[in-house]
Subunit: 204 residues, 2 copies
Amino acid sequence: MSVDSERGTTRAERQAQTRERLVEVARELFLADGYAGTSLDKVAVAAGFSKGAVYSNFSGKEELCMAVLDTIHEEQVEGVVAAFTADTDLDGRIDAFAAWVREKLGKPRWTALEVEFAAVARQSPWVAGELVKRHRMLVAASADLIDRVLADAGLRLDFGAHKAAVALLSLGIGLGAMRSLDPELDVDVFAETMRALLRSSTSA
Amino acid sequence: MSVDSERGTTRAERQAQTRERLVEVARELFLADGYAGTSLDKVAVAAGFSKGAVYSNFSGKEELCMAVLDTIHEEQVEGVVAAFTADTDLDGRIDAFAAWVREKLGKPRWTALEVEFAAVARQSPWVAGELVKRHRMLVAASADLIDRVLADAGLRLDFGAHKAAVALLSLGIGLGAMRSLDPELDVDVFAETMRALLRSSTSA
DNA sequence: GTCTATAAATCGATAGAC
DNA sequence: GTCTATCGATTTATAGAC
């Protein structure tokens, strides 16, 4: 039995920690400086490793960024679900969701990274395929949630929940991208638009 | 009098033609391959010049891309104004605008370039400042137009025209960015969202 | 698995000839 | 003003030591 396993940390576990740490640091740097503005060397050094460690855990920059986006997407879904399953009525849930969006768009950078990485996809079929998969997953999850929440409230959406999901996700992405450029941009537009959308397109 | 002026083309005119041609070609390449995916050498050669000609007419890659975006923004404003000043009623004008958006988002790439360039802005104060100027101009122009068109129809928007402009521009940008990734994305979402927005938020 | 050293390629930008 | 040639800097990715 090795020293590692006596300590309770196997080699595989230590590598998993390295990978996790790299993703964590990469996330901060990608969000702060963008995809093109972040070199793998910066990531490695900031994480306390060298570039070799990056290439031992990821096939390259693209896969690292995809791993970063996965952690973000996971949190997004968790946050949205949490807001929409709050134990109140529909209005309360919408309030909770609006507050969550407001916070996310406040110091965003997520959408900025997402759309910059989408530009990379144009010259990388692998990135393109993986990103499309994830976006469709996000839209589907949002649509499901919208359906369930409105059904709970006894309402029905005039146009499909899928379209509503696309509209809200697009609005969030566009708003976040503009906001990352212009900090004075009014973020409350999202909540107001969403309310207007629901008001005009739901029926009992 | 030089040969040039006898031909009716002065040196300044020929340089203006070079500049125009460079912007034209750069626009195609930036839209097709993105900002990072397009080198100045490619642009120069595709336009029938060498890199030196690029640097004789622009301070660098950033200024060239800004010139490209200016031609696009100009066309955007023209198109939107044309749709909204069509000689019909409000519904007809909305139809015309929806059709215009549908066409623009059909083979988009504009929003993709815009948001990718916004990522560049994070490390270039000049780009950041110029882009913010232009976006505020676009929002202001849109808001003015919305105000005038609704006033024509005898309607009033519940939340300000400025917010409506931000919402529609953001939605278009986000939708275009997602669409440039996923060609199957349903673009009609824009028109439907806009109609829903107007329906719920206007009063006489 | 991680590090050091280096390869290999790209690209923005500049200098000097014409 | 444009072209040719080149510099200089960056960065992804790899090879080999430990």
